[in-house]
Symmetry: C2
Subunit: 329 residues, 2 copies
């Protein structure tokens, strides 16, 4: 494990546009609570125009995970497409500022940098409307063999499968990772995303994925089963490591031989955006350092608890110091 | 007082770019804590590149005040210049979303929408670096006689005086306000701004200003005196109402006949950005409703306490409900 990056993330490069709303706002706009919906530019404008005042934070699922790994003191790189516009500058600034290598050149033309309008309800849940913008131009050219070879783990977000023309590039990258001795990790992103690509995700999981991240709903949706235990017994046959989050019940890490559970860290929930992303950051940071599944899962839970205690999906506290303190408690 | 707007604000239309830094960051960049410095695009890029990850919020001093008045349930309009770019869209969205009428057309060319890089130190103090961008193109054409005539109070921020070519427009607008029976309010913005324009501000104060907002440092700088009491006795001769904030000591409202003091609202200071802006919002909201100086000052203190309890200079809580509750306590 002496590669340049502990983790190379591939994902959508997105600026989050965050507002607090009541549940009635979701009803008025036909938004399913907790989901991520794709919107075109007209739908995007329509929702934005009716949104309360917002605040903007860099986001993107895999990008948040890479920011988390860097915040923990790890080495991370990110591949994702922005345009050379104001939001693109903000995205690039923020990911570099936290210490992540940003490996993609911004697009000079085409659609604007992606944004995700995140509606946070009083229960802390987030409902997302994503305009993919420049992300749709992510291609094979953006993912170099050399970068993949330099990563212990190459991490893909399920949301990437919303871009039909780029899927081939991701599968190629997974194959290169295998050849170069890098592990492949995938997060299922959300249960609606699993619904859109169930067959593809199952196929990927069996053929290419070493480490699968999912929450309880997502893993049940992937295997079309009713209970968590059924899903767990199935996923253990398909991947080397399954890291499953269960909200306030903490997480379950399963391999063929072992099942480890870790309790959730107590915290006050303000905004659940990024909980799964930061769990993955903590777990991957620990795993690529050679820590046990239990300790890696614990770091994941600590990082997730930090992120849900404030607005925005990138850490505010010094994660490395926080983990050090919590592990010693 | 049956005009369309309680207050029409004229100011710089700015998106805030906020990061938490240690005091050492200010020292390394030669930034004077608590000040607002103007930067050109090269200096702006230089500071931004060394800043930690940021979050973006709509800002601008007078714009924050108008947002506060709307949040209190009042009627407000804003004049300020953005460009037709992504940050300009964010600024326009946020001020309209809170219920303020935004009266200025965005510029189609010229410099980008203004930004203010705000460095928040652990003591909650903010140090600002402003790139004025599109604001420099604010002109007489943007301030219509009709809009001024429809406001009980026309409110100007001192920072406007950083734009040499537009000063004539502001003085004209003040004269129109007088003719149309609208009161003129001015905030001195900060003591460095007073330093840049002391003679002009003194002249304006004597000739055109009905309501002057300042903090203790600013009012002492305006009159070049050592003590608050000296400054207070001088300002009472120059304006109908002086509303002076004194941080944790609350505020003093002075007229020729009366001096009223109001205690600060207890709160936990996270980020002092916008404290003066929201005090002005609360005071002007009360004053234009015909409330007493004491009650108006109290509403100002309540609004200021809300804003310093979180990051960002626009209210998060329902200010109208908060004021109702606090006034009944």
């Amino acid at each position: 494990m002496a590669k340049k990056y502990q983790v190379l993330g591939v994902g959508n490069a997105i600026v989050d546009v965050i507002a607090r709303v009541d549940d009635s706002f979701l009803e008025e706009h036909g938004s399913e609570k907790g989901s991520m919906m794709l919107v075109d530019s007209a739908q995007s404008a329509n929702i934005y125009n009716s949104m309360p005042p917002t605040e903007e934070h860099s986001g993107g699922s895999a990008a948040n995970t890479m920011a988390g790994i860097a915040g923990l003191g790890g080495s991370a790189a990110f591949v994702g497409k922005v345009k050379a516009d104001q939001l693109g500058s903000i995205f690039r600034h923020d990911i570099k500022a936290v210490g992540v290598e940003f490996l993609s050149a911004p697009a000079v033309d085409g659609p604007a940098t992606a944004n995700c309008m995140i509606l946070v309800t009083p229960d802390g849940q987030r409902t997302m409307h994503t305009f993919l913008g420049a992300c749709v131009n992510l291609s094979t050219d953006d993912i170099s063999v050399r970068d993949i070879a330099e990563a212990d783990v190459v991490y893909f977000e399920g949301y990437l499968w919303d871009m039909p023309q780029a899927k081939k590039a991701f599968v190629e990258a997974m194959e290169i990772a295998y050849e170069e001795g890098s592990q492949v990790a995938l997060t299922l992103s959300d249960s609606f995303c699993v619904g859109r690509f169930r067959e593809e995700f199952l196929d990927l999981t069996k053929k290419h994925v070493d480490i699968l991240f999912a929450n309880e709903d997502e893993i049940k949706a992937l295997y079309k089963v009713e209970t968590f235990d059924e899903a767990l017994s199935l996923v253990r046959k398909d991947v080397a490591i399954a890291a499953i989050t269960r909200s306030e019940k903490g997480c379950v890490i399963a391999t063929e031989d072992h099942v480890v559970t870790v309790a959730a860290e107590p915290t006050q929930v303000v905004d659940t955006t990024g909980a799964g992303d930061l769990f993955a950051a903590g777990f991957l940071f620990g795993h690529t350092r050679g820590y046990s599944l239990k300790k890696s899962g614990k770091i994941g839970c600590i990082a997730a608890a930090e992120i849900i205690s404030h607005v925005g999906a990138r850490p505010i506290e010094d994660l490395a110091a926080l983990v050090k303190k919590k592990l010693n408690d």
